[in-house]
Subunit: 311 residues, 4 copies
């Protein structure tokens, strides 16, 4: 499916240094305010689509090593927080504590999520990450929250199937073909949203009490050139790890290395794109205004997210 070899991963033809030696935002630098303003003017319906799956213990993809997310009640009606103040006896305040993996369910990978050969994006040394204080470089808090133009490539629709075959390796040709078929322009600084149909499959299997299989359609090393050539700012998909499973060429996290480490693109995984795809089809567009708000946890390697797409 690709003629690149594992050794290519060491070939930093990426974006290191492109925005200076101290840069920690990577391809998000490609987001151009003027382009975003132009995209805003192209909003059609004004409808919002939330792209986050529910955060709960069951019924959503939870990886065992991350633990199931927990919502625990911190206070409820049994707690008199009014503490004798006037009106206090009539009022009760409810709060929770959340215990959840930064990479729970729908989430964003910060640029420090993966290192390759001891280096994070832009060549920052892996030793800049410390267990107690977390990432000194490229933590999720460096990303901020942002709004950008986004293009959704709906590959199952393009292929005329309900979902891509499990394990299907998405190439640059697939992405280019789909964009052409959708007649949507890719612009520098866009966020690319790739729909594979995998999460629909996962949810359907789970609801039916069946165990979803491991293999997933996803991006390959070959697809990286499409992303690089179009100066994409960030990539999101509806599968577990953006990339095809089993890994392309059998190389562990090979697409993460190319996109996240070398090109500096934050990645969004387990996005719920199906409602958005329908809404966009109905509105007759394939571009939207996408707002992404990772929690600015100092030093974190990622964050659960609930992006909102305005069509």
């Amino acid at each position: 499916m690709t003629d690149q070899t594992a050794t290519d991963t060491a070939n930093t033809t990426g974006n290191w240094g492109r925005w200076g030696a101290e840069d920690e935002r990577g391809a998000l630098n490609l987001i151009d305010p003027a382009g975003v303003a132009a995209a805003a003017r192209e909003v059609r319906t004004g409808r919002s689509y939330a792209l986050g799956l529910p955060i709960q213990r069951e019924g959503v993809p939870v990886f065992p090593h991350r633990g199931a997310p927990q919502r625990l009640t911190l206070s409820d009606h049994t707690d008199d927080m009014g503490m004798g103040r006037e009106g206090g006896e009539d009022v009760r305040s409810y709060e929770d504590v959340l215990v959840l993996a930064s990479h729970s369910i729908t989430h964003m990978d910060a640029l420090c999520h993966v290192q390759h050969q001891g280096k994070f994006y832009n060549g920052f040394d892996a030793a800049t990450f410390r267990t107690r204080t977390g990432a000194e470089r490229c933590g999720i808090e460096k990303i901020g929250a942002f709004t950008a133009r986004a293009v959704l490539l709906d590959l199952p629709r393009y292929q005329g199937v309900e979902r891509l075959e499990l394990g299907y390796p998405i190439t640059s040709a697939d992405l280019a073909g789909c964009a052409a078929a959708q007649d949507v322009e890719m612009r520098s600084g866009d966020v690319l949203l790739v729909r594979t149909g995998y999460i629909d499959y996962w949810l359907a299997e789970t609801r039916a009490g069946r165990e979803p299989v491991y293999a997933q359609a996803g991006l390959t090393r070959d697809s990286v050139s499409f992303i690089r050539d179009h100066d994409i700012a960030a990539v999101g998909a509806d599968n577990s790890a953006i990339e095809v499973m089993p890994f392309d060429n059998g190389v562990f996290l090979t697409v993460h290395i190319a996109l996240l480490v070398q090109l500096g693109l934050p990645l969004m995984e387990h996005l719920w794109l199906t409602d958005l795809a329908s809404g966009m089809a109905e509105a007759g567009t394939h571009a939207c205004l996408l707002s992404v708000s990772p929690l600015p946890v100092t030093g974190a390697t990622g964050s659960p997210i609930n992006p909102v797409a305005l069509v």
Copy 2:
């Protein structure tokens, strides 16, 4: 400062039933897609402003009963997640677990955050909240993620001061006067952002090693009529609880009762509005496109947020 009395809080002149007996989104129903599309066309610079303060143990407002937020490392370079797969020895993946209160630092209150006399918004019984499973009604996951037009009322700028006096009670007249002075139109379905300058004060005091005082400028019961009359969809502010401290008329959470319980407006607290205010002033506007993405934690009473404003 206001002629309304504590007994008014029992007077449900609010929005219960306005969107049906089963409604759990409250005033967010006022967001009108056509209005949002119109607001999108008014975007000027295309610049994004993140409104969330950093989530960390120190240097940001942490209330003791909520505990300081914790980022704990789940995996780093010492963990061979590649587990012998090709390329695995060169790659390391970093993840965290987060332990944080739903109402940590910059956050949104869900409509189930407060009940009054045994009822949540729309009359849902307080017994619908259960400790283990959380809110059956009006949980944060019912809000979704949304984009709306937002207006920022910069009260310190209006008053010609650096920040409102600590404990200053904001009235409807203050809000109306500020909107008029800013020459900004309030539209139905808008999000109202109120800047008091409190958080600037809090951060400055904390950085200087001083304990910020308890009193805060904030909304009063009187200000509720401005919000109701303009059919505001949600309110956010840069103080701790939207409302003036000490509580208006000495009644515990009196503005929460009016806005959240009676009118069904989700509230956003500890927003960082200062950079946005500058950016808007520079762009010559007082309205923006605001995207808010609470984490869709099933049954939760609130969520940390990092809203993004597009100017």
Copy 3:
């Protein structure tokens, strides 16, 4: 298997009031220092047996609603806690954060773990428990840590089987018969340890990749009279909930109501008794000196424990 009916559970023939209206230690008051000193003098080998199963994510009984216990690294060699102090560069300190249910794996139920008809042990009102601050009455911290004489009744050995039949209902006659066969004296203030062989079965099934069945041998309502008549101070077993599953007479938590709520006995569940049983057999005794150290978490309803038996 028993002629008691469900309505008996309302019949407080228990210990309420026996140690005064304010008592929160229940049957632990039966522990008599002189008796403990006597038991200490009967120690034979001086060998310690730990009765706690490992606390880890897998391979031990974890109930989904409680979540798998998590050990997260708080600091390690990447964190310079010496912070420039002399010798600091040569030293590293490793710490963890634990997230675990109070009733994880091997644990003790505090007397506030269960209420019946609105009352905890000794008639304390259920409203004394508050979500934020926990148990005002009968919290685990009221138990302290204690050493007592304990008797192990090894029922599988008594029946000449490897483990009791799954779902076997243990009666007073079984307990009395086993004690007689073992020729061990039951004394007032003893801790009763009941071995059913269930946990051996659970571990074997789990290791073999099979799902253990739900039914478990355990105590019945009938067995309560043995415990009451011998003035037992606390009961522990190697099954999940002390009592037989499915519940005796089909009544939910019926033995908990009798032992914990009515008699005020703290319960210990998922004990690892197999090594202790072997050690005691080898030493020719059926009594030991048992030390139990629940974590004194203020307001908690239970605690993971790792009791130590001295034979």
Copy 4:
């Protein structure tokens, strides 16, 4: 106060190899069952003393980097766990989730808590500790739960003061002098409990709303010879880190290196020894039977404990 120099810390005159190259229990190997049985026979009153301080957010020594311990309610009376089973409507079950540092308040340091020059006790390489899975070597679960003879040296009583001077450096001569004055025999395999009075000071200051000072009385490098010469199995104290603060000779964690890393003694910190000291004085003894039950968390570096002393 001591003529040993910082360079001595590199001098492994310790116990590495003494119990074999694979040993992970260190000086606990010195506990001799026959000696423990003998100590059991010397029990006088049969009274238990719990040595753990309450585990709660306030009023006990919590170090900021560890976070305050949290007890969160997992289920209470609002949760129908009976789920329609007979009797279920009358019964409610209360559970918690605990979030707490392994080294919270009263705790035990596992042998992997500190490494020196890249090595844990017995020369295990620091790389055996991994962030996700924790300690492969010398984790707290290797300690088990144990009962041993313990001797309490009550230094304030020996000096005729209420508490040792803050920062007082305890030497071998102090320990030997105190043991002689108390006329208590030190035996091989004993646990040594050292009372300084520091925690009494800390609690009194905190209750009075004052900030306790940093300096603490504690063990010095000089005191190590007393511990080594008497073949002590474990050491506990009522201060924060066993050792004197500021560190002896200004060397970071110098006594931890000697005791924990070189000699392989687990350490117990923030013990509450005052009631025990009184009880022992009353009973006319200075030895007791001590049971210690760290939670067997696989891979953990320590555990909160609540040891129980039988006098």
